[in-house]
Symmetry: C2
Subunit: 220 residues, 2 copies
Amino acid sequence: MVTKTAAKPKPRPRDRAKTETAILDAVSRLILRDGLSGVGINALAREAGVDKVLIYRYFGDLDGLYRAYAEHGDFWWTVEEMLAATEGATDAADALKRGLRHHTAAMRQRPVTLAVIAAEPANRTPLVVALEEVREKRSIELMKQEALRHGGWGDVDIVAVTALLAAAIDYLAARALKIRVYGGVEIKTDKNWERVLAAVDAMIDGLFAATSPAKRKGTS
Amino acid sequence: MVTKTAAKPKPRPRDRAKTETAILDAVSRLILRDGLSGVGINALAREAGVDKVLIYRYFGDLDGLYRAYAEHGDFWWTVEEMLAATEGATDAADALKRGLRHHTAAMRQRPVTLAVIAAEPANRTPLVVALEEVREKRSIELMKQEALRHGGWGDVDIVAVTALLAAAIDYLAARALKIRVYGGVEIKTDKNWERVLAAVDAMIDGLFAATSPAKRKGTS
DNA sequence: GGTTTTTGTCACCATACGGTGACATATAGG
DNA sequence: CCTATATGTCACCGTATGGTGACAAAAACC
């Protein structure tokens, strides 16, 4: 009979680059399948088909692996991309609406990012922290650029409003990964996302209509 | 010298009721300290000062313990409480504003609920599911009651709007447990919560001002 | 060809987990 | 008083975890 060890060891080809990308790819797969907390050394080595000692050798420890993963991936929209998406906007309200729609699409396209966001409040790994830093930096930079474009935001507390709406979108999108319902709204279909985004649009329109015109050309 | 085992065993008094509440109390403490995923059999037994076998005896298994915990606690506002909070509202917009403010206060008063919400998308334990059911039921019931009070919501898609705003509030409050910043908004202080709530108010006002009047007495 | 370094494999460690069986003793029932 | 049951304690199981040291062999270097 054929014993397990004698069957066909088929040793891994000696190629560090390939091994490293195999590991990093396995991280994505594991995050998607089991969430951030599912990315442990043993599960990861198993998933990547790699001995775990190689992970230690190439990335130091789990945190090093997270950091490397955070640097290698595309987890967030870029400021340029976002500015392009809001380019033709007629006014600040329009820019905000377009921006949030682009944000929504960008998030829904990145399930790994959503999974990280979902785990964010609970598991605070270096990957989470790294992603957070990127987000903060780009959001702030984008705010600055958009403000220049439209000459400020009138009376609207743009930081609070975007924080609120972006938080809502992130949370709903993250929930939609594994759960379907929130407050009676099905959040997995495009149709219902459109419903949510329509509500966002309406709120932004109302907000700018109600508060801005009074001082539209007033004291900045 | 005094050995550990011979020192003073001080056996636990034989009182099932006390043991059970000790266990349930330890669940709250553990959730607050380590999050939902920190509530394991061993850690729990340690925290409660109880042998883990008693947990199995009294609650079956971990899921049974979660279920018992879900039934025993006060995790969410009640419909009556919420209706009282919005009692003097002048119109639908005002009711919604008051409701969301009460919701915010209620959430911030219940750190355990926030911790569960934080873990919700990731760890899907029976406790999370039970809490979710309560929320869904009460939200829907509340919507119904409020609609009766104010004769509908005009053109506002109230379900989408409240889902969106409640999601934002829940997420920000849950994040605030362990993180401080989101999109440039410090979310731990009362002052900045007021800022966020002011933005919510402004959006609601704008929303109702912009969309409702057109058909205020129109086709339902 | 011989040596050194790199890459990969394997066996092992201490620890923690969820879960169970056997035992001791306090309390309640007869 | 004797017995049965309820409560609590202890030792243990199998499995998984994060992490490390020893070894084999391919590659690179001289």
